[in-house]
Amino acid sequence: MNPRKKILIVFLLLAAAAVLPVFFKSSRYYLNLLNLAGIFIIFTYSLNFIHGYLGLISIGQAGFFAIGAYVTAGLTMAVGLNYFPALFLAGVASTLAGMVIGFPATRISGHYFVLITLGFGEIVRLVILNWKEVTNGTNGVNNIPPPRLGPWVFDSRFSYYYLVLFVIVLTLLVTMSLRRSKYGRSMLALKVGELAAMAMGVNPLSHKLINFGLSAFFAGLAGGLYASYVGSISPEPFSVNLSVDVLTMLLVGGSGTIAGPVIGATFLVFLKEGLRFMKEYYMILYGAGIVLVMIFMPYGIAGLIDRLAVRLRYPSG
């Protein structure tokens, strides 16, 4: 597929996404799921910067999400800032945290990187839990106001959908332009073989650090969107489980692809909801499902579609 055709497809899909909620306008239930899926799509793209481009696994992503959520809530409520600058600053705060941890983390690789991000995520959660003067501890922050932009208030699920979609498009633009730049190519070279890429003059540290920062930024944005959408936040959901969830979404969808995060996040948000009627058994099935996906579709749904497409085009091969 040539790039122009690809961009056309992305464009058509975005147009479809823009009209999608019109069909569900009467169903608050489905709009809610779509919005959650949208927030998780951004969150999953954020992890894609680390895993898709560098091949590193982070399970501290919930830490950035939490920082984004709490900073957005704090800036809009305590400081009285408008939502949009607050959201941006939340992304910046998250990036700064990403730099602090990314500086040491990018110097090591493999399972050491996994553990350092894990430690980071837990530290963020524990600090939020215990720093009661600022975060209100387990009770969390309630009545976070909806975003406001001039005359518009994003207080309905329908209008929020478009806000989320806007941020998704932003994330997509950064992801796609990164892929096509010299920078993105150097990163992919790093993923395939770090030593070889270094010999070609790619500086692994600065590349990794930039990607880590981008990842933290978008995770922070996703957290900020989540906070004002749900309206109240507490430390409980920002645990390792959330980091694992987003990693699962990325791998089930297909890491390192443009479509993967969209497919994975949407699929798992709806799957979790669809299995909810099984009560306490649904998380058991969810766990089993992850294992099965890893056994039978190691490159995720996007990878499976790719392989099927190849087979359709070259039936004999």
Binding site: Y112, L115, V244, Y281, M294
Partner: protein, 288 residues
């Protein structure tokens, strides 16, 4: 103070045992088993099934847990490792994360969210040594751990099966050429790891409340221990476990109990930055 240090050492021994089971599998097949904490949890829950559902005495419950965990180890290998043994390590990591979710929520469905405690072999008896109160269970933990660590060094260096396991861990291809059934050895490794998890679960049972989330907490601690000790080093694990156990108790009682775990994780990160090979571990080298 002495009292605190002894309870810290006991806790550290449990951490070391948990980490030991994790590292066995890691050294043998390079798989990072994120569900090892859940295996430890199940070791304890099997004991609970035996004592409160089947009304068995505690020693029989322990045997039951060992047998059940050995079975679980075999199944675990078949499901979460064996089908993916030729694929990138991340595939196995995610599969074990999936297994962790499955096991944790199975425990939730079977036993409910309420924390429960397992009885100790020694009840709540204490030694009173000149005014210092020492829980007998703590002494048991330390004794069992020392015995197991001495036993393992004998097992892996002196017995035929232990040497085969060691050979498999070092180089699967060569081990296969030497006529060792590599797949059987790997299965055995998973079984040994599960047995260690069962023992750790039993020792942990009386001192920690057991609820379905305990596995996650346990594996996080084990990671810290493994990093302090150097990934893969058995000696390092024992030292790292004892170190973490004592530090935690001292921090909690003299410094801050809320931020105790934050300090543990800061130690993890600090060690990774300053001394990535840990205090006893391998050099971190890169393959082309």
């Amino acid at each position: 103070m002495i009292q605190e240090i002894i309870s810290g050492l006991a806790m550290g021994c449990v951490y070391a045992l948990v980490s030991f089971g994790f590292v066995l599998v890691y050294n043998a097949v390079g798989a990072v088993n994120f569900a090892h904490g859940e295996l430890v949890m199940f070791g304890g829950y099997f004991g609970l099934i035996a004592t409160s559902w089947m009304h068995l005495p505690l020693w029989a419950a322990f045997l039951f847990s060992l047998v059940a965990m050995a079975g679980l180890g075999i199944v675990y290998n078949r499901v979460a490792y064996y089908p993916m043994r030729q694929r990138p390590a991340v595939t196995v990591i995610i599969a074990t994360i999936g297994m962790g979710i499955l096991l944790r929520n199975s425990a939730l469905a079977l036993f409910g969210p309420d924390p429960v405690k397992l009885k100790s072999f020694l009840g709540d008896h204490v030694f009173d040594v000149g005014g210092v109160i020492i829980l007998q269970h703590h002494v048991l933990i330390i004794a069992v751990t020392i015995a197991l660590f001495i036993g393992q060094s004998f097992f892996f260096s002196r017995t035929s099966i232990g040497r085969k396991l060691e050979a498999t861990a070092q180089d699967q291809e060569t081990a296969r050429l030497m006529g060792i059934n590599v797949n059987r050895m790997i299965t055995l490794t998973f079984v040994l790891s599960a047995l260690l998890a069962s023992i750790a679960g039993f020792l942990l049972g009386p001192i920690w409340f057991r609820d379905p989330d305990v596995g996650l907490i346990v594996i996080l601690k084990a990671f810290i221990v493994i990093v302090i000790g150097g990934f893969g080093s058995i000696r390092g694990i024992l030292a790292g476990g004892l170190f973490l156990g004592v530090i935690e108790v001292l921090v909690a009682s003299h410094l801050t109990s809320e931020y105790r775990d934050v300090i543990s994780f800061l130690i993890l990160i600090a060690v990774l930055i300053v001394l990535p090979q840990g205090f006893f571990g391998e050099k971190v080298a890169q393959k082309v």
